[in-house]
Amino acid sequence: MNNRKDINEELDAIAPLLKSISRLPVQSVPEGYFEQFSVKIPAESAPVVKMPMVRKWMGYASAALVAGILVTAGFIFTDKNVQPFNYEQYSRIDVPVEMNKLTDDELQNYLVTATVLSGAGHTSSSVSEEINETITAETASLNQVSDEELEQFLNENAGNTDLK
């Protein structure tokens, strides 16, 4: 460090006002800062240990094996060779002609299968039977109506097109 006297003599020559100003710090510092000051040295990074050559290759082999299993499994479970639906092909089919080619047994099999798959408890024949039963019951009840009552009913509903 230089002598304070030399520095003051230098200031006398260039800026004498500065010689009279106190050099003591004026800025505020938290109380006890210098007493409590400590340096936080960062922890040294852990040393890097080199893997032996055999273990290194074993590691690579394991990684390759796992990758192989994953790729194979991916192909097995995802590659089902599904053909896309060909709408154009089906639009060219002549449905009545194709239907005529079917045998009765094939139709019967289809109806049974379709009923089972749809979950309904009726076959088409049981539906026909139900309709016939309803018509028979209605015919029987109409037989109990007299001719006069029918005549009157028709006269009253002469304008109703549903009865024509």
């Binding site: 460090m1 230089n2 002598n3 304070r4 520095i7 200031l11 260039i14 800026a15 004498p16 006002l17 500065l18 009279s20 100003i21 106190s22 050099r23 003591l24 710090p25 004026v26 800025q27 505020s28 510092v29 938290p30 800062y33 210098f34 000051f37 400590s38 340096v39 936080k40 040295i41 960062p42």
Partner: protein, 179 residues
Amino acid sequence: MEDVEMVTAFKKAGTKENAFTLLVKKYQERLYWHIRRLIPSHEDANDVLQNTFIKVWNGLGAFREDSQLYTWLYRIATNESLSFMEQQKRKAAVDFDQLGEAYSNSIKADANFDANRLEWKLQLAIRQLPDKQKLVFNLRYFDNMAYEEMSRVLDTSVGALKASYHHAAKKIEEFIKNH
């Protein structure tokens, strides 16, 4: 303990931490004020002082014992302070004048600030100087550093440092007289 002894003790595993603690105790206050004269905020100055001592911890093992320890410490603290100021300028995207104004406001915000006292006028006057002149003035005026030592800290010729100091002292006196 003398500086040379501290450096020798630091290089031995068994006495390394104790030597470093002694070095911190010996220089913390001087380095803190050197930094604080450049960076007005205490928190920022504290961060820079921490970084300075971490650099010292990392580099002291390779320090040549024929060099002067305190010159080396001032050099690290100066470089850390200048890097911090450069970062501040970049972060705030401001030029030198704007940063100087912000630092002046920071000085005025100090709990002890008294605009009539010459010591505070001196602080505001130093703020007006370019970084290099500020450094030269502080090292000579407050730290009583010889030009030859300053030359090693700042990597500048003695002649250039003398010229810088003279310009700075004249500007500061002028500022104080006018405010």
